[in-house]
């Protein structure tokens, strides 16, 4: 008997019981805060030491144009967002070593979560492959207000498991030394969140 058969035999006859699963009560809240999700998102993201800015969409080129250094942008990022910035397009793909030498990356996002101050990338157009937002030391992410979900359940409803997903809450951090939080380990050490209306 191979390992698969033996493990399944040990587990016995366990047919699907969709009714039993569906009967699990879910009395928890769909969201913890009513009211302005954008305000809450800005506050919560800042709690985790992201640099947060709220600006009118029209100001985006000026704000991104003010970034100093070389930034990479993924395919599908609206060109007018970075009209004022010195950017490298990830097409053809920039090598990992070259990404490491850049100053940062500018992307959009799929969804954001107000309650937890989280940005979620599904690595679709305007967000780039996963390495793009990992290797450069500064991640600038543009969050359009409509993408902000109130809480975790709503965010997951909006996301597709068919895509790779990266949830980002603040810059990289560790609590491994005496359980106190320190920002800045292997992921980007700076996270800037630009919220547009």
């Amino acid at each position: 008997m191979n390992a698969r058969e033996e493990i399944l035999r040990r587990l016995g006859e366990t047919p699907a019981e969709p009714a039993a699963y569906a009967a699990i009560p879910r009395p928890y809240l769909r969201r913890h805060h009513e009211g302005d999700a954008v305000e809450l998102f800005a506050e919560r993201a800042a709690d985790y030491r992201a640099e947060v800015r709220r600006i009118p969409g029209a100001d985006l080129p000026a704000v991104l144009g003010a970034l100093r250094g070389h930034y990479v942008v993924p395919d599908g990022l609206p060109a007018d967002w970075t009209a004022g910035a010195d950017v490298v397009r990830d097409d053809p793909p920039v090598s990992i070593a070259a990404l490491d030498a850049l100053d940062g990356v500018i992307t959009g996002c799929a969804v954001a979560i107000a309650e937890t101050g989280t940005v979620v990338l599904d690595h679709g157009p305007g967000q780039g492959r996963r390495a793009l937002t990992l290797v450069p030391d500064h991640h600038v992410v543009v969050v359009e207000s409509a993408r902000i979900a109130a809480d975790v359940p709503e965010a997951l409803e909006r996301l597709s498991p068919d895509r790779p997903l990266t949830f980002i809450s603040g810059p990289s951090a560790t609590s491994d030394i005496e359980l106190s939080r320190v920002e800045g380990v292997h992921g980007p050490r700076r996270l800037t969140i630009v919220i547009t209306d």
Binding site: A3, I7, T116, T166, I177, R181, G184
Partner: protein
């Protein structure tokens, strides 16, 4: 227990070589004042923060109850959900492997790495690979596994053992970490201070090249969604993202109990885990992927290693709900004093005391002692985000542990004494007299004869010089 079962135990999760049973191991740990100071500092800090993070959610109790029910349902129908997971991961271009025990899992991972021709792999912190002793198995085959989680790196560089589920180097203070880095980390800066930010930066620099060059990574998984074939890794530092994203080949080793039925179940666990574990609303990074992603080769190793046997026990199986948050360690008065090493397995603390003996399924002095490594105060049950009644399982496992003939005789004698008021009064007077003889420095450190077994692991209380009954008789009446 048959020889076969014993062998099965040995192939599962090895007890650390030369590991004494809990009481002996704990005695040394309790005497280590620096260890106690480090542990007290770290666990006290996290307890307060966790309480705040949890109290933010008014529906914590409902989330917890739902999580418990989802896990119980999954464990009940585990065969079905594992088949579904396999089907979905395969449909999305991944390859699924099954391992009955540690040896088989190590063999699978070793062969997969050898097939790539690589001799160095990067690793994301994973309890499952700790449990099976993967790093040691790989080393025996000439493959170097580089731990990339900061705490795991501290443990690996310090030639040490993990002592906490979340923070394996919790027993080390910042000054010790600095010393380890300066001694063992090639290229560590000469002026390295013990500031946590500087230490984290040293780790970043040390591992950067390794990440960018790595061809093969090994990870665990926090959750796997059966209906979508999605794997979830929850982390803080970005070392997880580095390992999951950059290498061409990714091998994830996952205990079979980590599966959850559906996508919507993540909405429960992604709220419970970060708050209960690192006391954050959300951990810095969570990666979710379904099958082979962005051109990567993806292997999933499903690990039994005593889990199907644990599932057989109606009371003990609730240990399989565990999501490895480590909240139970941080509140445990025994853990706080004894530290993680005393538990003799990668799973320390209250959850380790019920998980290790069940997973190993063997009868050894260490495993027999673990269910007693608790005061049954119940704090662990209270904080558990999936409501594992750890005290209930401890008591259940105590009843299964081997009790010596002397212990049984002593219990029968105690019952005989307690049944009669005359015998009890005589016994109390005798104890009072004996106490006056035995007391040293305000306490009884060692009882004579066979009773010394009792004081091997604890001080005995000094019996009162006068019993309550005697005082009652003599007291002045109004």
């Amino acid at each position: 227990m048959s020889t076969d079962q014993r062998m099965a135990g040995a192939a599962r999760m090895p007890t650390y070589v030369g590991m004494p049973a809990f009481p002996e191991a704990a005695r040394d740990a309790v005497r280590d004042t620096r260890l106690r100071r480090n542990l007290t500092h770290a666990t006290t800090t996290i307890r307060a923060k966790r309480a705040a993070a949890v109290s933010e959610l008014d529906d914590w109790a409902e989330l917890r109850e739902t999580a418990k029910r989802i896990k119980d349902h999954t464990i009940e129908h585990l065969g079905h959900y594992l088949r579904l997971l396999e089907e979905q991961v395969t449909a999305r271009g991944g390859t699924v492997h099954w391992a009955r025990d540690a040896a088989e899992a190590n063999r699978i991972v070793t062969d997969l790495i050898k097939a790539t021709g690589e001799t160095d792999v990067v690793k994301v912190k994973s309890m499952a690979t700790q449990e099976i002793g993967l790093n040691e198995a790989l080393a025996a085959e000439g493959i170097r596994a580089h731990e990339t989680d900061l705490a795991e790196l501290i443990v690996q560089l310090g030639h040490d053992r993990p002592s906490h589920i979340l923070v394996p180097a919790i027993h080390r203070g910042r000054a010790e970490i600095r010393e380890i880095f300066r001694r063992e980390m090639p290229g560590a800066p000469d002026d390295l201070t013990d500031e946590p930010a500087r230490l984290a930066e040293a780790a970043r620099t040390h591992l950067r090249e390794r990440f960018l060059k790595a061809k093969v990574a090994v990870s665990g998984a926090n959750f796997a969604v059966a209906e979508t074939g999605s794997l979830v890794v929850v982390e803080s530092e970005g070392n997880g993202r580095m390992c999951l994203t950059l290498p061409e080949t990714l091998i994830s080793v996952m205990g079979i109990e980590k599966v959850v039925p559906a996508w919507q179940d993540l909405e429960v666990f992604l709220q419970l885990l970060p708050r209960s574990s690192t006391a954050e609303r959300m951990n810095p990074y969570t990666s979710i992927w379904s099958g082979a992603t962005e051109g990567q080769t993806f292997h999933l190793v499903l690990l039994d290693n005593g889990r199907t046997a644990t599932r057989e026990d109606e009371v003990g199986r609730q240990a399989l709900r565990c999501i490895r948050c480590s909240a139970c360690l941080n509140v445990c008065p025994v853990y706080q004093r004894a530290g993680g090493h005393a538990y003799g397995s990668p799973y320390p603390g209250p959850i380790g005391a019920i998980l290790s003996p069940q997973l190993r399924g063997s009868s050894s002095p260490v495993d027999d002692s673990l269910p007693y490594a608790s005061t049954l105060c119940g704090a662990c049950y209270e904080v558990c985000p999936v409501a594992i009644d750890i005290p209930e399982v401890l008591v259940h496992l105590r009843s299964r542990a081997v009790h010596g003939r002397a212990e049984k005789a002593a219990m029968r004698f105690a019952a005989w004494t307690l049944r009669s008021p005359t015998r009890l009064a005589f016994g109390q007077r005798l104890a009072g007299a004996a106490g006056r003889v035995l007391v040293r420095r305000g306490g009884i450190r060692r009882l004579p004869g066979p009773l010394a077994r009792w004081t091997d692991t604890r001080d005995a209380p000094v019996p009162a010089t006068e019993t309550f009954r005697e005082w009652w008789e003599k007291r002045e009446r109004p």
